[in-house]
Amino acid sequence: MINYAMVIDTTACIGCGDCVVACKNENHVPAGLNRDWVVEETRGEYPHLYTEFRSERCNHCGHATCVTNCPTGASHYWKDTNIVLVASEKCTGCKACIAACPYDARLIMHPQGYIDKCTFCHHRLEQGLDPACVSTCPTGCMYFGIMNDPDSHVSRLLRSRIHKTLLPETGNIPNVYYLV
C-alpha cells in the first residue's frame, strides 16, 4: 500500500488562500464550495503574540471513519493507497460521512447531489504532478509525497522537524502534517 502524505510548514505559510483558489480552478469546484480552507490561530496577548496559519483539507486518514460509515460504499480508498474518494454514482447524499468526519472536511454537497471532497488531486498524481494546492503555493510551504519511502522529502521533513497533526486522538491516523 502507498501512504501519501501532505506536509505543511506553518512557519512559512502566510495564509494567502492561493491553495483554495488553485483547487477551485483545478477541480471545477462550484461557486460557494471549497475542498480546502485556511485557518488563522492567534495566541497570547499584545504584544507577545503567536499567529499560525494552516491550510486544511481532508486528512486522507489511514483509518477513515467516513469510509467505514458509508452505507453504500461510495466512500472508498483509491487503488491501494490512503487517498479517500467518493464514487459519485454510488453516493446517495445521506451525509453519514459528514457526521463521521472529525475534520469537517466533507461539508460539500455538490449541486449534482453527491458529497464532494479533496482528492489529493489523484488525477495529477498519475501524471507525476503535485496536487494543485501544493504546486501553486507561493511560499513553497506545502509538500507532498510518499510516507513509506524513507527517502522522500516528506519523510525527511517529518524526521527533522517538530510537527503535529490535527485531532490525532480520534485514532483516524491523519495524513496531513503541520511543521511548527
Binding site: 512557519t11 512559512a12 502566510i14 495564509g15 494567502c16 488562500g17 492561493d18 483554495v20 483558489v21 488553485a22 477551485k24 480552478n25 483545478e26 477541480n27 471545477h28 461557486a31 460557494g32 492567534t42 497570547g44 496577548e45 499584545y46 504584544p47 503574540l49 503567536y50 499567529t51 496559519f53 453504500t72 464514487a87 459519485s88 454514482e89 454510488k90 453516493c91 446517495t92 447524499g93 454537497m109 449541486p111 449534482q112 447531489g113 453527491y114 488525477h123 494543485a132 504546486s135 501553486t136 503555493c137 507561493p138 511560499t139 513553497g140 510551504c141
Partner: protein, 727 residues
C-alpha cells in the same frame, strides 16, 4: 435496477434548484483535464508584478492559469490573485460596449454606442478643445500596461501630461529618496536581493499580505536559511508573525527609530567604515546630525524600549552587508515620506548593503529596440513647470497636482484620459476637487475592463478586453536576469471589448494621426521587436518567457570605483540636491499628530486576496474575501462597546461616515490604532458583488499630508472612531 433507480432519485432530491445538473446527476464527473486541453502564454495583469503564466482551457472553456516555471517573477507559482485572475474573463459585470453620456428627460445617463460613434465623439471634442485652448491641455492618468498606447496617442496629439498614481500615491517618496541618495531608484520589481539576505528589516511593509510574488518567495527563502527578520509595524502583520523581533511602533514615529538606529551604528562604530569611505558623501554631517537621537530619546517618541532598539541595530550590523532595510512599496504615509525613505536609504548605506549580495543588486533589462514609427513632436510648453513647478526635484507626473490644475474655468487642463485607474478611491481627499473638475473639464474618457466609480464621471467609456484576450507590449523590466515575457490572448475579446493597442490606433486615425501608429496588427510590432533580439513571436508563443545573459555585473565589483548619479558622484548621506532646493539635507523627525479623544489612527493595507479595489468583483477572489473588517484591540473594543463580528460605521472628526464594516477584535493591533484592508466599499451598483461590500478607507481621509519634496499624498494621518449600527 431498483437500487439504481433509487440512487438516481436521491441524487435528484439533492440537486433541488440546480436544474442543469439533473441529467448528469448519477454519472461520475470526468476527471479534470480529461477533455481537450490547450494552452496559451500570458503575463498576469491582476497586479503590477507581471508574472508570466500559462492559461489552460479545457474543451474551449477557461480552466486554470498557472505560473511559468521559467519566469523569475513567479518561478512557476502564481499568487492568490494571479490564480484567481482567470475569473476576470467571465465576470458578468464587465464593461461590454462603448458608452456615451447623454441627457434624457433632464437626466444624465449612458447609452450604448458603436465604436465608430464613440471615436467620432471623442475626436470631435479633442479637435474642438485643441482649437479653443491648445492641443497640450489633455492629461492622461494611467495605471496599467495599455496606458503606453494612450500616452503615444496624446503625445502625437500634443499633450504630454501624464501621471501614474503609482508615483504620488505609492512609491514616489521611495524612488525620489533613493534617487537623491544613490542616484537611482528601487524600481519594480524591487531590486532587493532578499534571497541572500541574512537580516531583513520591514518598516510598515507587510510582504505576505502584499503578495508581490518573488518578494514573498525570496523573503521566505531567506527565513528558511535562518535570516533574522525584524518588523516595525503598529500591527502584528503576517511578516511580524514570522519575525525574530516585532517592534509595535507608535504610528508615524518611524523616522525617530531610524535616526536612533543610525546613532547606534555610528556611535558604536558598527557601520561599514570601508564602504562609507569608498562610496559615501557627507558622513561627518550625518554623524553630527544624529547625536541627539539616542535610543532613550527615541523611546519617548516610538514607545520602543531602548534595549530593543540597540539589540536590533546590533543584529543589523552583525549581518551587514547582507542586511536589507527594505524600502517598502506603498510609502505615502505622513507627508515627510521622502525624508523617511531617505533615512532608510542612509541606513542601508551605513550598512554597506547597496550594490552588495543580500542588499540591493544592480538591475539590467533587455536592449529591445522600439518598433520603427515617427516620434511624436516635442511639447510646445513645459507642462510640468505649469502645474507642478513647486516640486523641482520631480521628473514625473503628480496625479493630485494634475487634478488640482483641472478645477475651474482658468485651469490648465481641459480634458482627461483615464486608463485602468479608479481615481476616486486611488487618490485620497479629492472627491470635492473631482466633482469640481468634472464640472469644468470638457472631455473625460475612461478606458477600463470594469465599471467603477470613475466611469460614472466619463463622457465616453471605452471597454477594454481583459489581459486574457489581448496582446500587450513585451514585458521588459530592469531586474536581476534580463527577461522578455509575452502576453498573448487565450480568447477572442468578449462582448464588444477591444485591446488598448487597437483602441488607440483607431482613435489616432480619426484625428489624422494614424501615421504614428503604423501597424495593422500588433503581432507585427511584437514579432519585429523579437526578431531584433534573436527571437520571434512564434518562439515566444511557445515558451512565454526568454532570459538573456547579463552584460553588467549584478553587484559592485570589489576594488572598482562606482560613479553615482548624484551631484557629488557619491552616495549622498547629505543630499546636495535637497540642500540646494531648500529642503532638509539630512532627515529630520517631526512628531505626528495624535488622535483626538475616542479616535484612532486609521491604518490600512493590502490583503492577499485582492489588488486594491480592482479585484473585489472578481467572482473567485470575492468568494475568498467578500468584505473587509476593522481590526480593533480588545481593550479599545470594550471601551467602545463593540463586539467581534458586529457591523459598525467608521466616522472621522469631520463627521464623514463609512459604509458599514464588520469589527474584528484582535490582539494583533496597538490599542491606539485600527486597521482595514483598502479597496472595499464600492459604490457603483454595476459591480454587483463588490457594491456595498465592506468600507472604503480613502473616503475617510480628512488629513491628507502633502510631501513637500515630491508632492505625494500622505494617507496615514487620519483618524476614525467606530459608531455602532442601530439594530
Amino acid at each position: 435496477m431498483q437500487r439504481r433507480e433509487f440512487l438516481k432519485f436521491s441524487a435528484l432530491l439533492g440537486a433541488a434548484g440546480a436544474l442543469p445538473g439533473l441529467l448528469g446527476g448519477c454519472s461520475a464527473p470526468p476527471l479534470p483535464g480529461s477533455g481537450e486541453v490547450s494552452t496559451r502564454r500570458t503575463v498576469c495583469n491582476i497586479c503590477f508584478w507581471q508574472c508570466a503564466a500559462t492559461l489552460y482551457t479545457e474543451n474551449g472553456k477557461p480552466w486554470k492559469v498557472v505560473g511559468n516555471p521559467e519566469d523569475p517573477h513567479c518561478n512557476g507559482r502564481l499568487c492568490t490573485r494571479g490564480t484567481g485572475g482567470i475569473a476576470s474573463y467571465s465576470d458578468p459585470d464587465r464593461l461590454k460596449q462603448p458608452l456615451i453620456r447623454v441627457t434624457r428627460n433632464g437626466k444624465q445617463t449612458f447609452r450604448p454606442a458603436s465604436w465608430e460613434e464613440a471615436f467620432d465623439t471623442i475626436a470631435g471634442k479633442m479637435q474642438a478643445l485643441a482649437e479653443q485652448h491648445g492641443n497640450d491641455r489633455i492629461a492622461l492618468f494611467s495605471h496599467g500596461d495599455g496606458g503606453k498606447h494612450f500616452q503615444r496617442l496624446l503625445q502625437a496629439y500634443g499633450s504630454h501630461a501624464y501621471a501614474r498614481p503609482s508615483f504620488a500615491q505609492c512609491r514616489g517618496p521611495r524612488e525620489t529618496a533613493f534617487g537623491l541618495t544613490f542616484g537611482e531608484g528601487v524600481g519594480s520589481p524591487d531590486r532587493t536581493d532578499m534571497a541572500n539576505s541574512r537580516c531583513i528589516v520591514l518598516i510598515g511593509s507587510h510582504i505576505g499580505e502584499n503578495l508581490h510574488n518573488s518578494q514573498v518567495q525570496t523573503l521566505m527563502q531567506a527565513l528558511d536559511q535562518g535570516a533574522t527578520l525584524i518588523t516595525v509595524d503598529p500591527r502584528f502583520s503576517v511578516p511580524a508573525s514570522k519575525s525574530r523581533h516585532w517592534l509595535p511602533i507608535k504610528p508615524g514615529t518611524d523616522i525617530a527609530l531610524l535616526l536612533a538606529w543610525m546613532n547606534i551604528l555610528i556611535n558604536e562604530q558598527l557601520y561599514d567604515r570601508e564602504y562609507v569611505d569608498q562610496y559615501c558623501h557627507g558622513f561627518e554631517e550625518l554623524a553630527r546630525h544624529v547625536q541627539p537621537y539616542t535610543p532613550e530619546w527615541a523611546y519617548l517618541e516610538t514607545g520602543l524600549e531602548p534595549a530593543l532598539i540597540r539589540e536590533t541595530a546590533r543584529a543589523m550590523a552583525r549581518s551587514a552587508p547582507a542586511t536589507l532595510i527594505h524600502p517598502g512599496r506603498h510609502v505615502t504615509w505622513y507627508g515627510d515620506d521622502t525624508q523617511r525613505c531617505r533615512a532608510i536609504a542612509i541606513l542601508n548605506a551605513l550598512l554597506g548593503s547597496w550594490g552588495q549580495p543580500g542588499g540591493f543588486y544592480q538591475q539590467e533589462k533587455v536592449d529591445l529596440p522600439p518598433y520603427p514609427a515617427p516620434k511624436p513632436p516635442e511639447p510646445k510648453h513645459d507642462w510640468m513647470a505649469a502645474v507642478q513647478g513647486d516640486y523641482p526635484l520631480v521628473t514625473t507626473g503628480i496625479s493630485n497636482a494634475l487634478i488640482d490644475h483641472s478645477v475651474g474655468p482658468e485651469a490648465f487642463f481641459k480634458g482627461w484620459f483615464i486608463y485602468a485607474t479608479n481615481l476616486t478611491t486611488t487618490i485620497p481627499g479629492i472627491r470635492r476637487q473631482l466633482k469640481q473638475a468634472v464640472e469644468s473639464l470638457e472631455l473625460i474618457v475612461v478606458v477600463d475592463t470594469m465599471p467603477a466609480e470613475i466611469t460614472g464621471y466619463a463622457d465616453v467609456v471605452l471597454p477594454e478586453c481583459t489581459y486574457l484576450e489581448r496582446y500587450d507590449d513585451l514585458r521588459n523590466k530592469a531586474e536581476r536576469t534580463p527577461t522578455l515575457a509575452l502576453r498573448s490572448p487565450a480568447f477572442p475579446p468578449r462582448h464588444n471589448s477591444k485591446p488598448a493597442w487597437w483602441i488607440s490606433r483607431e482613435l489616432a486615425g480619426r484625428l489624422d494621426l494614424g501615421n504614428y501608429f503604423p501597424w495593422q496588427d500588433y503581432r507585427d510590432v511584437l514579432d519585429w521587436q523579437l526578431q531584433q533580439v534573436g527571437s520571434s513571436l512564434e518562439e515566444m508563443e511557445r515558451i512565454g518567457v526568454k532570459a538573456f545573459p547579463r552584460k553588467t555585473p549584478l553587484y559592485f565589483e570589489s576594488g572598482k570605483p562606482v560613479k553615482f548619479n548624484t551631484p557629488s558622484n557619491r552616495i549622498e548621506l547629505y543630499s546636495q540636491h535637497l540642500a540646494r532646493t531648500g529642503y532638509d539635507p539630512l532627515p529630520k523627525y517631526t512628531p505626528p499628530e495624535r488622535p483626538p479623544e475616542g479616535y484612532f489612527h486609521l491604518n490600512y493595507g493590502r490583503a492577499a486576496a485582492h489588488t486594491f479595489g480592482r479585484t473585489i468583483n472578481n467572482p473567485l477572489l470575492f468568494e475568498l474575501m467578500p468584505e473587509n473588517t476593522i481590526w480593533v484591540h480588545p481593550a479599545s473594543a470594550a471601551k467602545l462597546g463593540v463586539g467581534n463580528g458586529e457591523y459598525v460605521r467608521l466616522k472621522n472628526p469631520e463627521g464623514t461616515h463609512s459604509h458599514r464594516i464588520r469589527v474584528r477584535v484582535t490582539q494583533r493591533i496597538r490599542p491606539d490604532s485600527v486597521f482595514m484592508v483598502h479597496g472595499f466599499g464600492h459604490t457603483d451598483p454595476r459591480q454587483r458583488l463588490a457594491h456595498g461590500a465592506g468600507a472604503d478607507d480613502a473616503g475617510l481621509m480628512h488629513n491628507v499630508k502633502i510631501d513637500p519634496v515630491m508632492g505625494g499624498t500622505g494617507m496615514r494621518a487620519s483618524f476614525v472612531t467606530l459608531v455602532r449600527e442601530e439594530a
